[in-house]
């Protein structure tokens, strides 16, 4: 039976990677991700995890080494944050385009300048179109569970795509939480060995990463798009089976007191738990509000989102990233696009907040919801509002 233990979330990620028996870990230090790879280095140093630990000289090389290891057929893991994710940027596209099942945790961090080690989703949003499966989590248990699911999803023969598990830097990476860590036997039963179908092998030579002229490039990209979209079936299936085995259930769009709510708030990541507290207090004040949380960011869960908001009149979206000079926060833009052609759809109000580690309290969420209702009724001259900004 799984034991509930108090553990730093980064350490718990390391423990899950140990139980997943990763073969290669290539990592470079960056706050607030460091505790993850430090713990993995310890596990390897103590012989508790039999893996090659490559202490690379940059994140670009971290992801590049992951490409090589995954192409050779090894189970491959890395972790990064903020600037590190941006330095990996071009390599991320190659991982997904070449169908290499790398698993990576991203301790989400703001981007320079000014330098900030604290959390927001700017790093994740800049990697929106890299072709990775992307899962957002809101507490330590979700991170650990989804790291396990990520290996199974990534390595599934129908998928073979890299997976990012996002956790907010510090808010999640550095907190000690009670976490149910499964037994090794349970993990081994859930996660079959990695069987990459066409690894680099002299007995059966393959050429990977060829040069694609215009006659084939579009088809290659379309195949990738079809594949990423289709991966949703496997993701849902893996979460379903995870639920059967571990009795914790995950959905692409999560609901909290949203069924009959006329006003919905949408959040991603660790802020969701604070938002729930705000929803509870507003509900007890008789307000008709609920919360939805976007867990699966890529492939985007169109049906689940449309279903989730179909009875709502107002949808307030909180982004933790800016799209400079753009229409709204990146998440709000996508939500608007996803709902634009629907017969009935809620009014969408876009807020940006929680940048560079700025906290939003439960009271703050109540203010966002109240202001959102006001904007929905009276309109606003701005495309979006930044919550709590001093002008």
């Amino acid at each position: 039976m799984a034991q509930r233990v108090g553990m730093e979330v980064s350490v718990a990620i390391g423990e899950m990677v140990r139980m997943a028996d990763a073969d290669v870990i290539a990592a470079y230090p960056i706050t607030p991700q460091t505790h993850i790879v430090e713990h993995l280095a310890e596990l390897v140093a103590d012989g508790e995890l039999d893996a090659e630990y490559i202490p690379v000289e940059s994140e670009h090389s971290a992801m590049s080494a992951c490409l090589g290891a995954a192409a050779a057929g090894a189970r491959t893991f890395t972790a990064t944050a903020g600037q590190g994710l941006e330095l990996m940027h071009e390599v991320l596209y190659v991982a997904s385009s070449m169908r290499l099942p790398v698993v990576m945790t991203v301790a989400n961090r703001a981007l320079s300048a000014p330098l900030s080690v604290w959390s927001d989703h700017s790093d994740a949003m800049a990697c929106r179109d890299t072709g990775w499966i992307q899962i957002f989590t809101e507490n330590g248990q979700e991170v650990v569970d989804n790291v396990l699911c990520a290996f199974r999803i990534a390595e599934d023969a129908e998928v073979l795509l890299p997976v990012m598990v996002h956790l907010d830097g510090f808010h999640l990476s550095h907190v000690i939480e009670p976490i149910l860590l499964p037994e090794q036997g349970e993990v081994s039963a859930f996660l079959p060995p990695n069987k990459y179908p066409l690894p680099l092998n002299p007995e059966k030579p393959v050429a990977m990463g060829d040069f694609g002229p215009p006659f084939i490039y579009t088809e290659a990209k379309w195949a990738q798009e079809v594949n990423l979209k289709k991966s949703k079936e496997t993701i849902l299936n893996v979460w379903r089976q995870f639920g059967d085995s571990f009795r914790r259930h995950y959905q692409p769009v999560e609901h909290y007191r949203s069924d009959d709510a006329k006003v919905l708030l949408l959040t991603m990541g660790s802020f969701s738990e604070t938002a729930m507290t705000a929803i509870d207090s507003m509900r007890s004040d008789g307000k008709d509000v609920g919360l939805i949380r976007l867990r699966l960011w890529r492939p985007f869960p169109f049906e689940e989102l449309r279903q989730a908001v179909k009875n709502a009149e107002v949808l307030i979206v909180l982004d933790r990233a800016l799209s400079f000079g753009g229409p709204a926060g990146p998440v709000a833009s996508e939500i608007k696009a996803a709902l634009y052609n629907q017969q009935t759809r809620p009014k969408i109000v876009s807020f940006v907040g929680g940048l560079g580690g700025r906290d939003i309290t439960a009271k703050g969420f109540t203010e966002i919801v109240n202001r959102g209702i006001e904007v929905a009724q009276k309109g606003s001259k701005d495309e979006f509002e930044i919550f709590g900004v001093r002008e």
Partner: protein
């Protein structure tokens, strides 16, 4: 040395793991060097290739010239990709997931992918001590993108980004000494090679391949297109590069320098330069300056060789 032409056809395997039919230019010294290297490498290998001429000419979908497992990802990261392959094989063999076939890992890149944009990844991979062979095919500029200067371009050469002009003599800096940088990582094997000396090249590639730990071979590659020389002079120009002392053939084995070919008398560099359009604009005083520098550098190398022999003998 004169007997190479007799020995090579008999000793080199007939198998072409870098198959003909690729799109390299006529007289490409790099394609020839890759072909010879592949003969030395054999079948039991995984090749990681940086973006560049050899990747572009040999891998266009739906064709490939590579008859061994081959991976290309990006320009600057091939040493890191090779690190990952090596680590992956090591872990999987140790854990019994795959049999130990003693497969070798070889990274190949051009001069730009090695001495400029790929230097950090290469330095990291050498420093970490991965068991792999890195081959730099040096044609002394970014030829694939259209003859732009790199830090391996020789002083005075005219390229599209170091053009000779009314107030410019072409390349303004001296060629970066990449074998010395590799040797400074204290890796077990560093060598220079030249396809105009095919047997020597194959021997060094094989030696690098069999070395435990990182090995680096810097391979001179004539580029008729970029150097503006006739394609049928590739071998001749390659010979002159070594005979003039511009590209000496040497090895650094466990820190010990060894000169593989020491011409009785260095040829004047004009014999080399006059065959190439990239040096055509240089006035005699600049050529003299280059000549002086080449002689000095050659002497420095010979001093390292002498010092090494002293240590070994003592």
């Amino acid at each position: 040395m004169q007997n190479y032409t007799v020995f090579v056809p008999r000793l080199a395997p007939a198998t072409e793991n870098f198959a003909p039919g690729h799109r390299a230019c006529i007289g490409c010294g790099e394609a020839l060097a890759v072909r010879l290297a592949c003969k030395a490498i054999g079948d039991n290998v995984i090749v990681a290739n940086a973006t560049g001429c050899m990747e572009i000419v040999a891998s266009q979908v739906p064709y490939t010239s590579w008859r061994v497992p081959w991976i290309h990802t990006l320009f600057e990261n091939t040493a890191a990709v090779a690190s990952g392959i090596e680590a992956g094989l090591k872990a999987m063999i140790r854990k019994g997931q795959i049999p130990d076939r003693e497969t070798k890992v070889v990274a190949i890149a051009g001069d730009g992918g090695t001495v400029d944009i790929g230097l950090q990844a290469l330095s990291g991979a050498m420093e970490r001590g991965h068991d792999f062979l890195y081959l730099c095919f040096d044609n002394e500029a970014y030829m694939n993108t259209g003859i732009q200067r790199s830090s391996a371009t020789p002083f005075g050469a005219s390229t599209t980004t170091s053009p000779a002009g009314k107030v410019s003599m072409g390349q303004f800096s001296w060629k970066k000494d990449m074998p010395a940088i590799a040797a400074a990582h204290n890796i077990p094997y560093v060598a220079t090679a030249n396809p105009s000396y095919p047997f020597d090249l194959m021997e060094k590639v094989e030696k690098g391949l069999m070395t435990k730990g990182p090995a680096y071979v810097h391979i001179y590659s004539v580029c008729p297109t970029g150097w503006r020389c006739p394609g049928d002079l590739t071998i001749r120009i390659g010979r002159l590069a070594t005979e003039t002392g511009i590209f000496p053939l040497y090895e650094v084995e466990d820190g010990q320098y060894k000169l593989n070919y020491d011409p009785p008398k260095l040829q004047p560099i004009t014999s080399y330069m006059k065959l190439q359009g990239r040096f055509r604009h240089l006035p005699p005083e600049i050529i003299d300056k280059i000549q002086q520098t080449i002689i000095e550098k050659y002497q420095e190398l010979k001093e390292k060789v002498a010092a090494s022999t002293g240590v070994a003998g003592g």
